[in-house]
Subunit: 523 residues, 2 copies
Amino acid sequence: MFSCWLSRQYWGFSTPTGRIAHLIRGSLSRTLVLSSQRRTPEFSSFVARTNTCGELRSSHLGQEVTLCGWIQYRRQNIFLVLRDFHGLVQVVIPQEESAASVKKILCEAPVESVVQVSGTVISRPPGQENPKMPTGEIEVKVKTAELLNSCKKLPFEIKDFVKKTEALRLQYRYLDLRSFQMQYNLRLRSQMVMKMREYLCNLHGFVDIETPTLFKRTPGGAKEFVIPSREPGKFYCLPQSPQQFKQLLMVGGLDRYFQVARCYRDEGSRPDRQPEFTQEVLPVFPKASRNWNTPVAQSILEEQRSGLIRLMEIQEDDVVLLTAGEHKKACSVLGKLRLECADLLEARGLVLRDPALFSFLWVVDFPLFLPKEENPGELESAHHPFTAPHPSDLQLLYTEPEKVRSQHYDLVLNGSEIGGGSIRIHDAELQRYILATLLKEDVKLLSHLLQALGFGAPPHGGIALGLDRLICLVTGAPSIRDVIAFPKSFRGHDLMSSAPESLPPEELKPYHIQVSWPADSEA
Amino acid sequence: MFSCWLSRQYWGFSTPTGRIAHLIRGSLSRTLVLSSQRRTPEFSSFVARTNTCGELRSSHLGQEVTLCGWIQYRRQNIFLVLRDFHGLVQVVIPQEESAASVKKILCEAPVESVVQVSGTVISRPPGQENPKMPTGEIEVKVKTAELLNSCKKLPFEIKDFVKKTEALRLQYRYLDLRSFQMQYNLRLRSQMVMKMREYLCNLHGFVDIETPTLFKRTPGGAKEFVIPSREPGKFYCLPQSPQQFKQLLMVGGLDRYFQVARCYRDEGSRPDRQPEFTQEVLPVFPKASRNWNTPVAQSILEEQRSGLIRLMEIQEDDVVLLTAGEHKKACSVLGKLRLECADLLEARGLVLRDPALFSFLWVVDFPLFLPKEENPGELESAHHPFTAPHPSDLQLLYTEPEKVRSQHYDLVLNGSEIGGGSIRIHDAELQRYILATLLKEDVKLLSHLLQALGFGAPPHGGIALGLDRLICLVTGAPSIRDVIAFPKSFRGHDLMSSAPESLPPEELKPYHIQVSWPADSEA
């Protein structure tokens, strides 16, 4: 469904229903441009306001204007600051007896009420200009005012400097969205995605295709939500990504596909959730050690020491950080340690990472398989079973599969993984061999994909970017919750609407399911 | 997640993994443009092919070209027609002894295999030009060939004139997607949506915002899929539309919002599905009657007849179609009858509806409430409980609510409803009165929305278009299944992957649900 929506302050008011059609068409085709790029607004006859709050300057002096916005604050019942998402403007409340009704509206309306005012743009009295405010040279002397909607007592003030708890922000998300930062993040996200679309669609002929989200589980898809259907015992799954569909589109001749896809991963309240790796492993390396006398260094033989000194060209006052243990974990620890060292050095004033730079990095040559953690004699896919082996390692698949490199690639921005992709297997027999013989997966679940590869699948590959994380890095937001309009809490709750919620048994009946309540001992 | 994907025939082959990064960047930034507008392709050093199949003309004579595509058909082991989504081209299989291996590849590859060929563009021998084929003046004399992927025996031929059953098309959807019609529909859809985005985003400052699909049920939301969470007895719902979120965005100051949103309605296998209304009611009016002697006309009194004749200005040979009965049903019947008459007249050669025209129509002044079918003493919303009443009818809400008109509007294209929207209620008290007092709904389910309206909600409204249906009308597709890449069958099945599917009880355990199998008598 394609849906677009507007606040009506950008239209006329008291509109007879018969004119709605014109309103919608008028507003879609002719009304003002709202974007963070501050283009010149354009107005249709259906728009009540003549200007946005943020755009008035000395050049508007003497003009009659109509503004709409939220009341940001009021001073001594004389001044009122009006806000929309183009900025702030000061309006002067009339004090004359003849304007008593206008004064009453503007003085009684609570902060964050929506009002419409008309009046004249005037200079601020000398010495009262506010150079910090883009509209600080002028103010609007109000003649008429209308209260469009009154505001009840707010749970917190809509000011960026007012600190709120995360839970309160999520509960009143629609108020939190009024903050400058959330407005900026969401508007920038929209523009970034639009640029990506223009680039792919308009410049390079990619086709934007929506793939289903009511699907079936994929092998190893333990993180997929299940959806009961009206057929007893039959379930859909919400996919973790359009994984299979993009391959099927390649087989279908949609040779350049892209999608901004919704992905579902059920890990909200997993009891086996891992704590941060730094917490787990850095008590092992309590401090960078400046001599060979720490407990760890004690276990290094004398000849290993001299070997190390030679190899690393260690000199007086150098620091060497060592890890021991299982290869993958040791590497992870060294990675964390490297970041920790950078933090320590930067805290002392050494600039190692310029936050204004976007440093991209490709990671390639991943192994295709890894030994299973619970059973190292068996293999599992390092990424997923559809990744193609490196062409030079093809023969190793049949002799030493654990040595095969994959055609997987990850994209890293400023140290964070923002995306990844792979060249996929397009040969049905190779795919079957990897699934059935090497990974011992049930190929029946993927019979449609194997069949599709057999019907002239072209060689293909692609990439997917984690959009939330990418926008986080670009905006500098501390959490992906700050770049999503309505995020869930880390336990997967919608604190605003309180989803998920209990349902009466009769609503479950059409789906042929019932709740298995845990025994008291488990609850 | 943002995902883009390419068939590798548009890249180089035998690419070492270390070059993947360049490949992806190269192909994203420099390679050919594929669109139905046939812009001039642009090639990077990573692209194997030099031209698309559909673009070669006499102006290319003598050029060395490399083409990739599917084998459309082969004639007498001499000619082979290669297809990509820019068109068809004839290639000449070399017959010389020295080119035996090339001949072998091209003669043995089954139809619909993917091949890459290199050779010279030559003129067809005089008299062998094919004026019906855009590339019909030339052919490509092949020097080298590579089989990129072989094709197994197909369940049906990829030719538009080959008729397939709907079930077979859905089962092998990836093959059906290779048809000209499906390619055209999906590529046009992508371009149309892109134009809508450019218009709203770039020209009018709308912000594209993704809203959640794991939500809670809305009042009257019996058609919403439920998703069990890992908390016992707690469920999410998949929303029928971003209904509430768009209003909350307005409250949040995202003053111009749009989204191409996924909507979920569980009506796939409802046992109470209604048959087409025409079937049900047209046995009552078996034929348009040309005299007053039909059984229906018999029940009209003499004085009513003369009244009718005067009112309708009936003359000799005129046809009057009457319905009687409950107002809404009678109107529906007359509407169907009108279309039926148009069909009859058009069948006799009278052109009433030009299929090349796009005739738009707004429907306004809907009633806000309708009497409940099961209990006509109570009211239900004609559309949904958030629609604002017509401003002139506001007082009737408290006296004669059934007479209140709504600020709802529907958009109709060539007789089909393609969208609708409304001005919403922005006043919390009015919304509460309508929900609790007039509609007797449980307001607790909507407490977050009522609260949000109280915090300075601006007046607002919008519109949503049913994209599938709109694209159907534009492309002339007979069914919305023809404008969706991977549609479900009318019973909600994915015939390709066989979703929904059975899940073992252990996969349901984390969600605290079990299947209630119907008793034998019900099954």
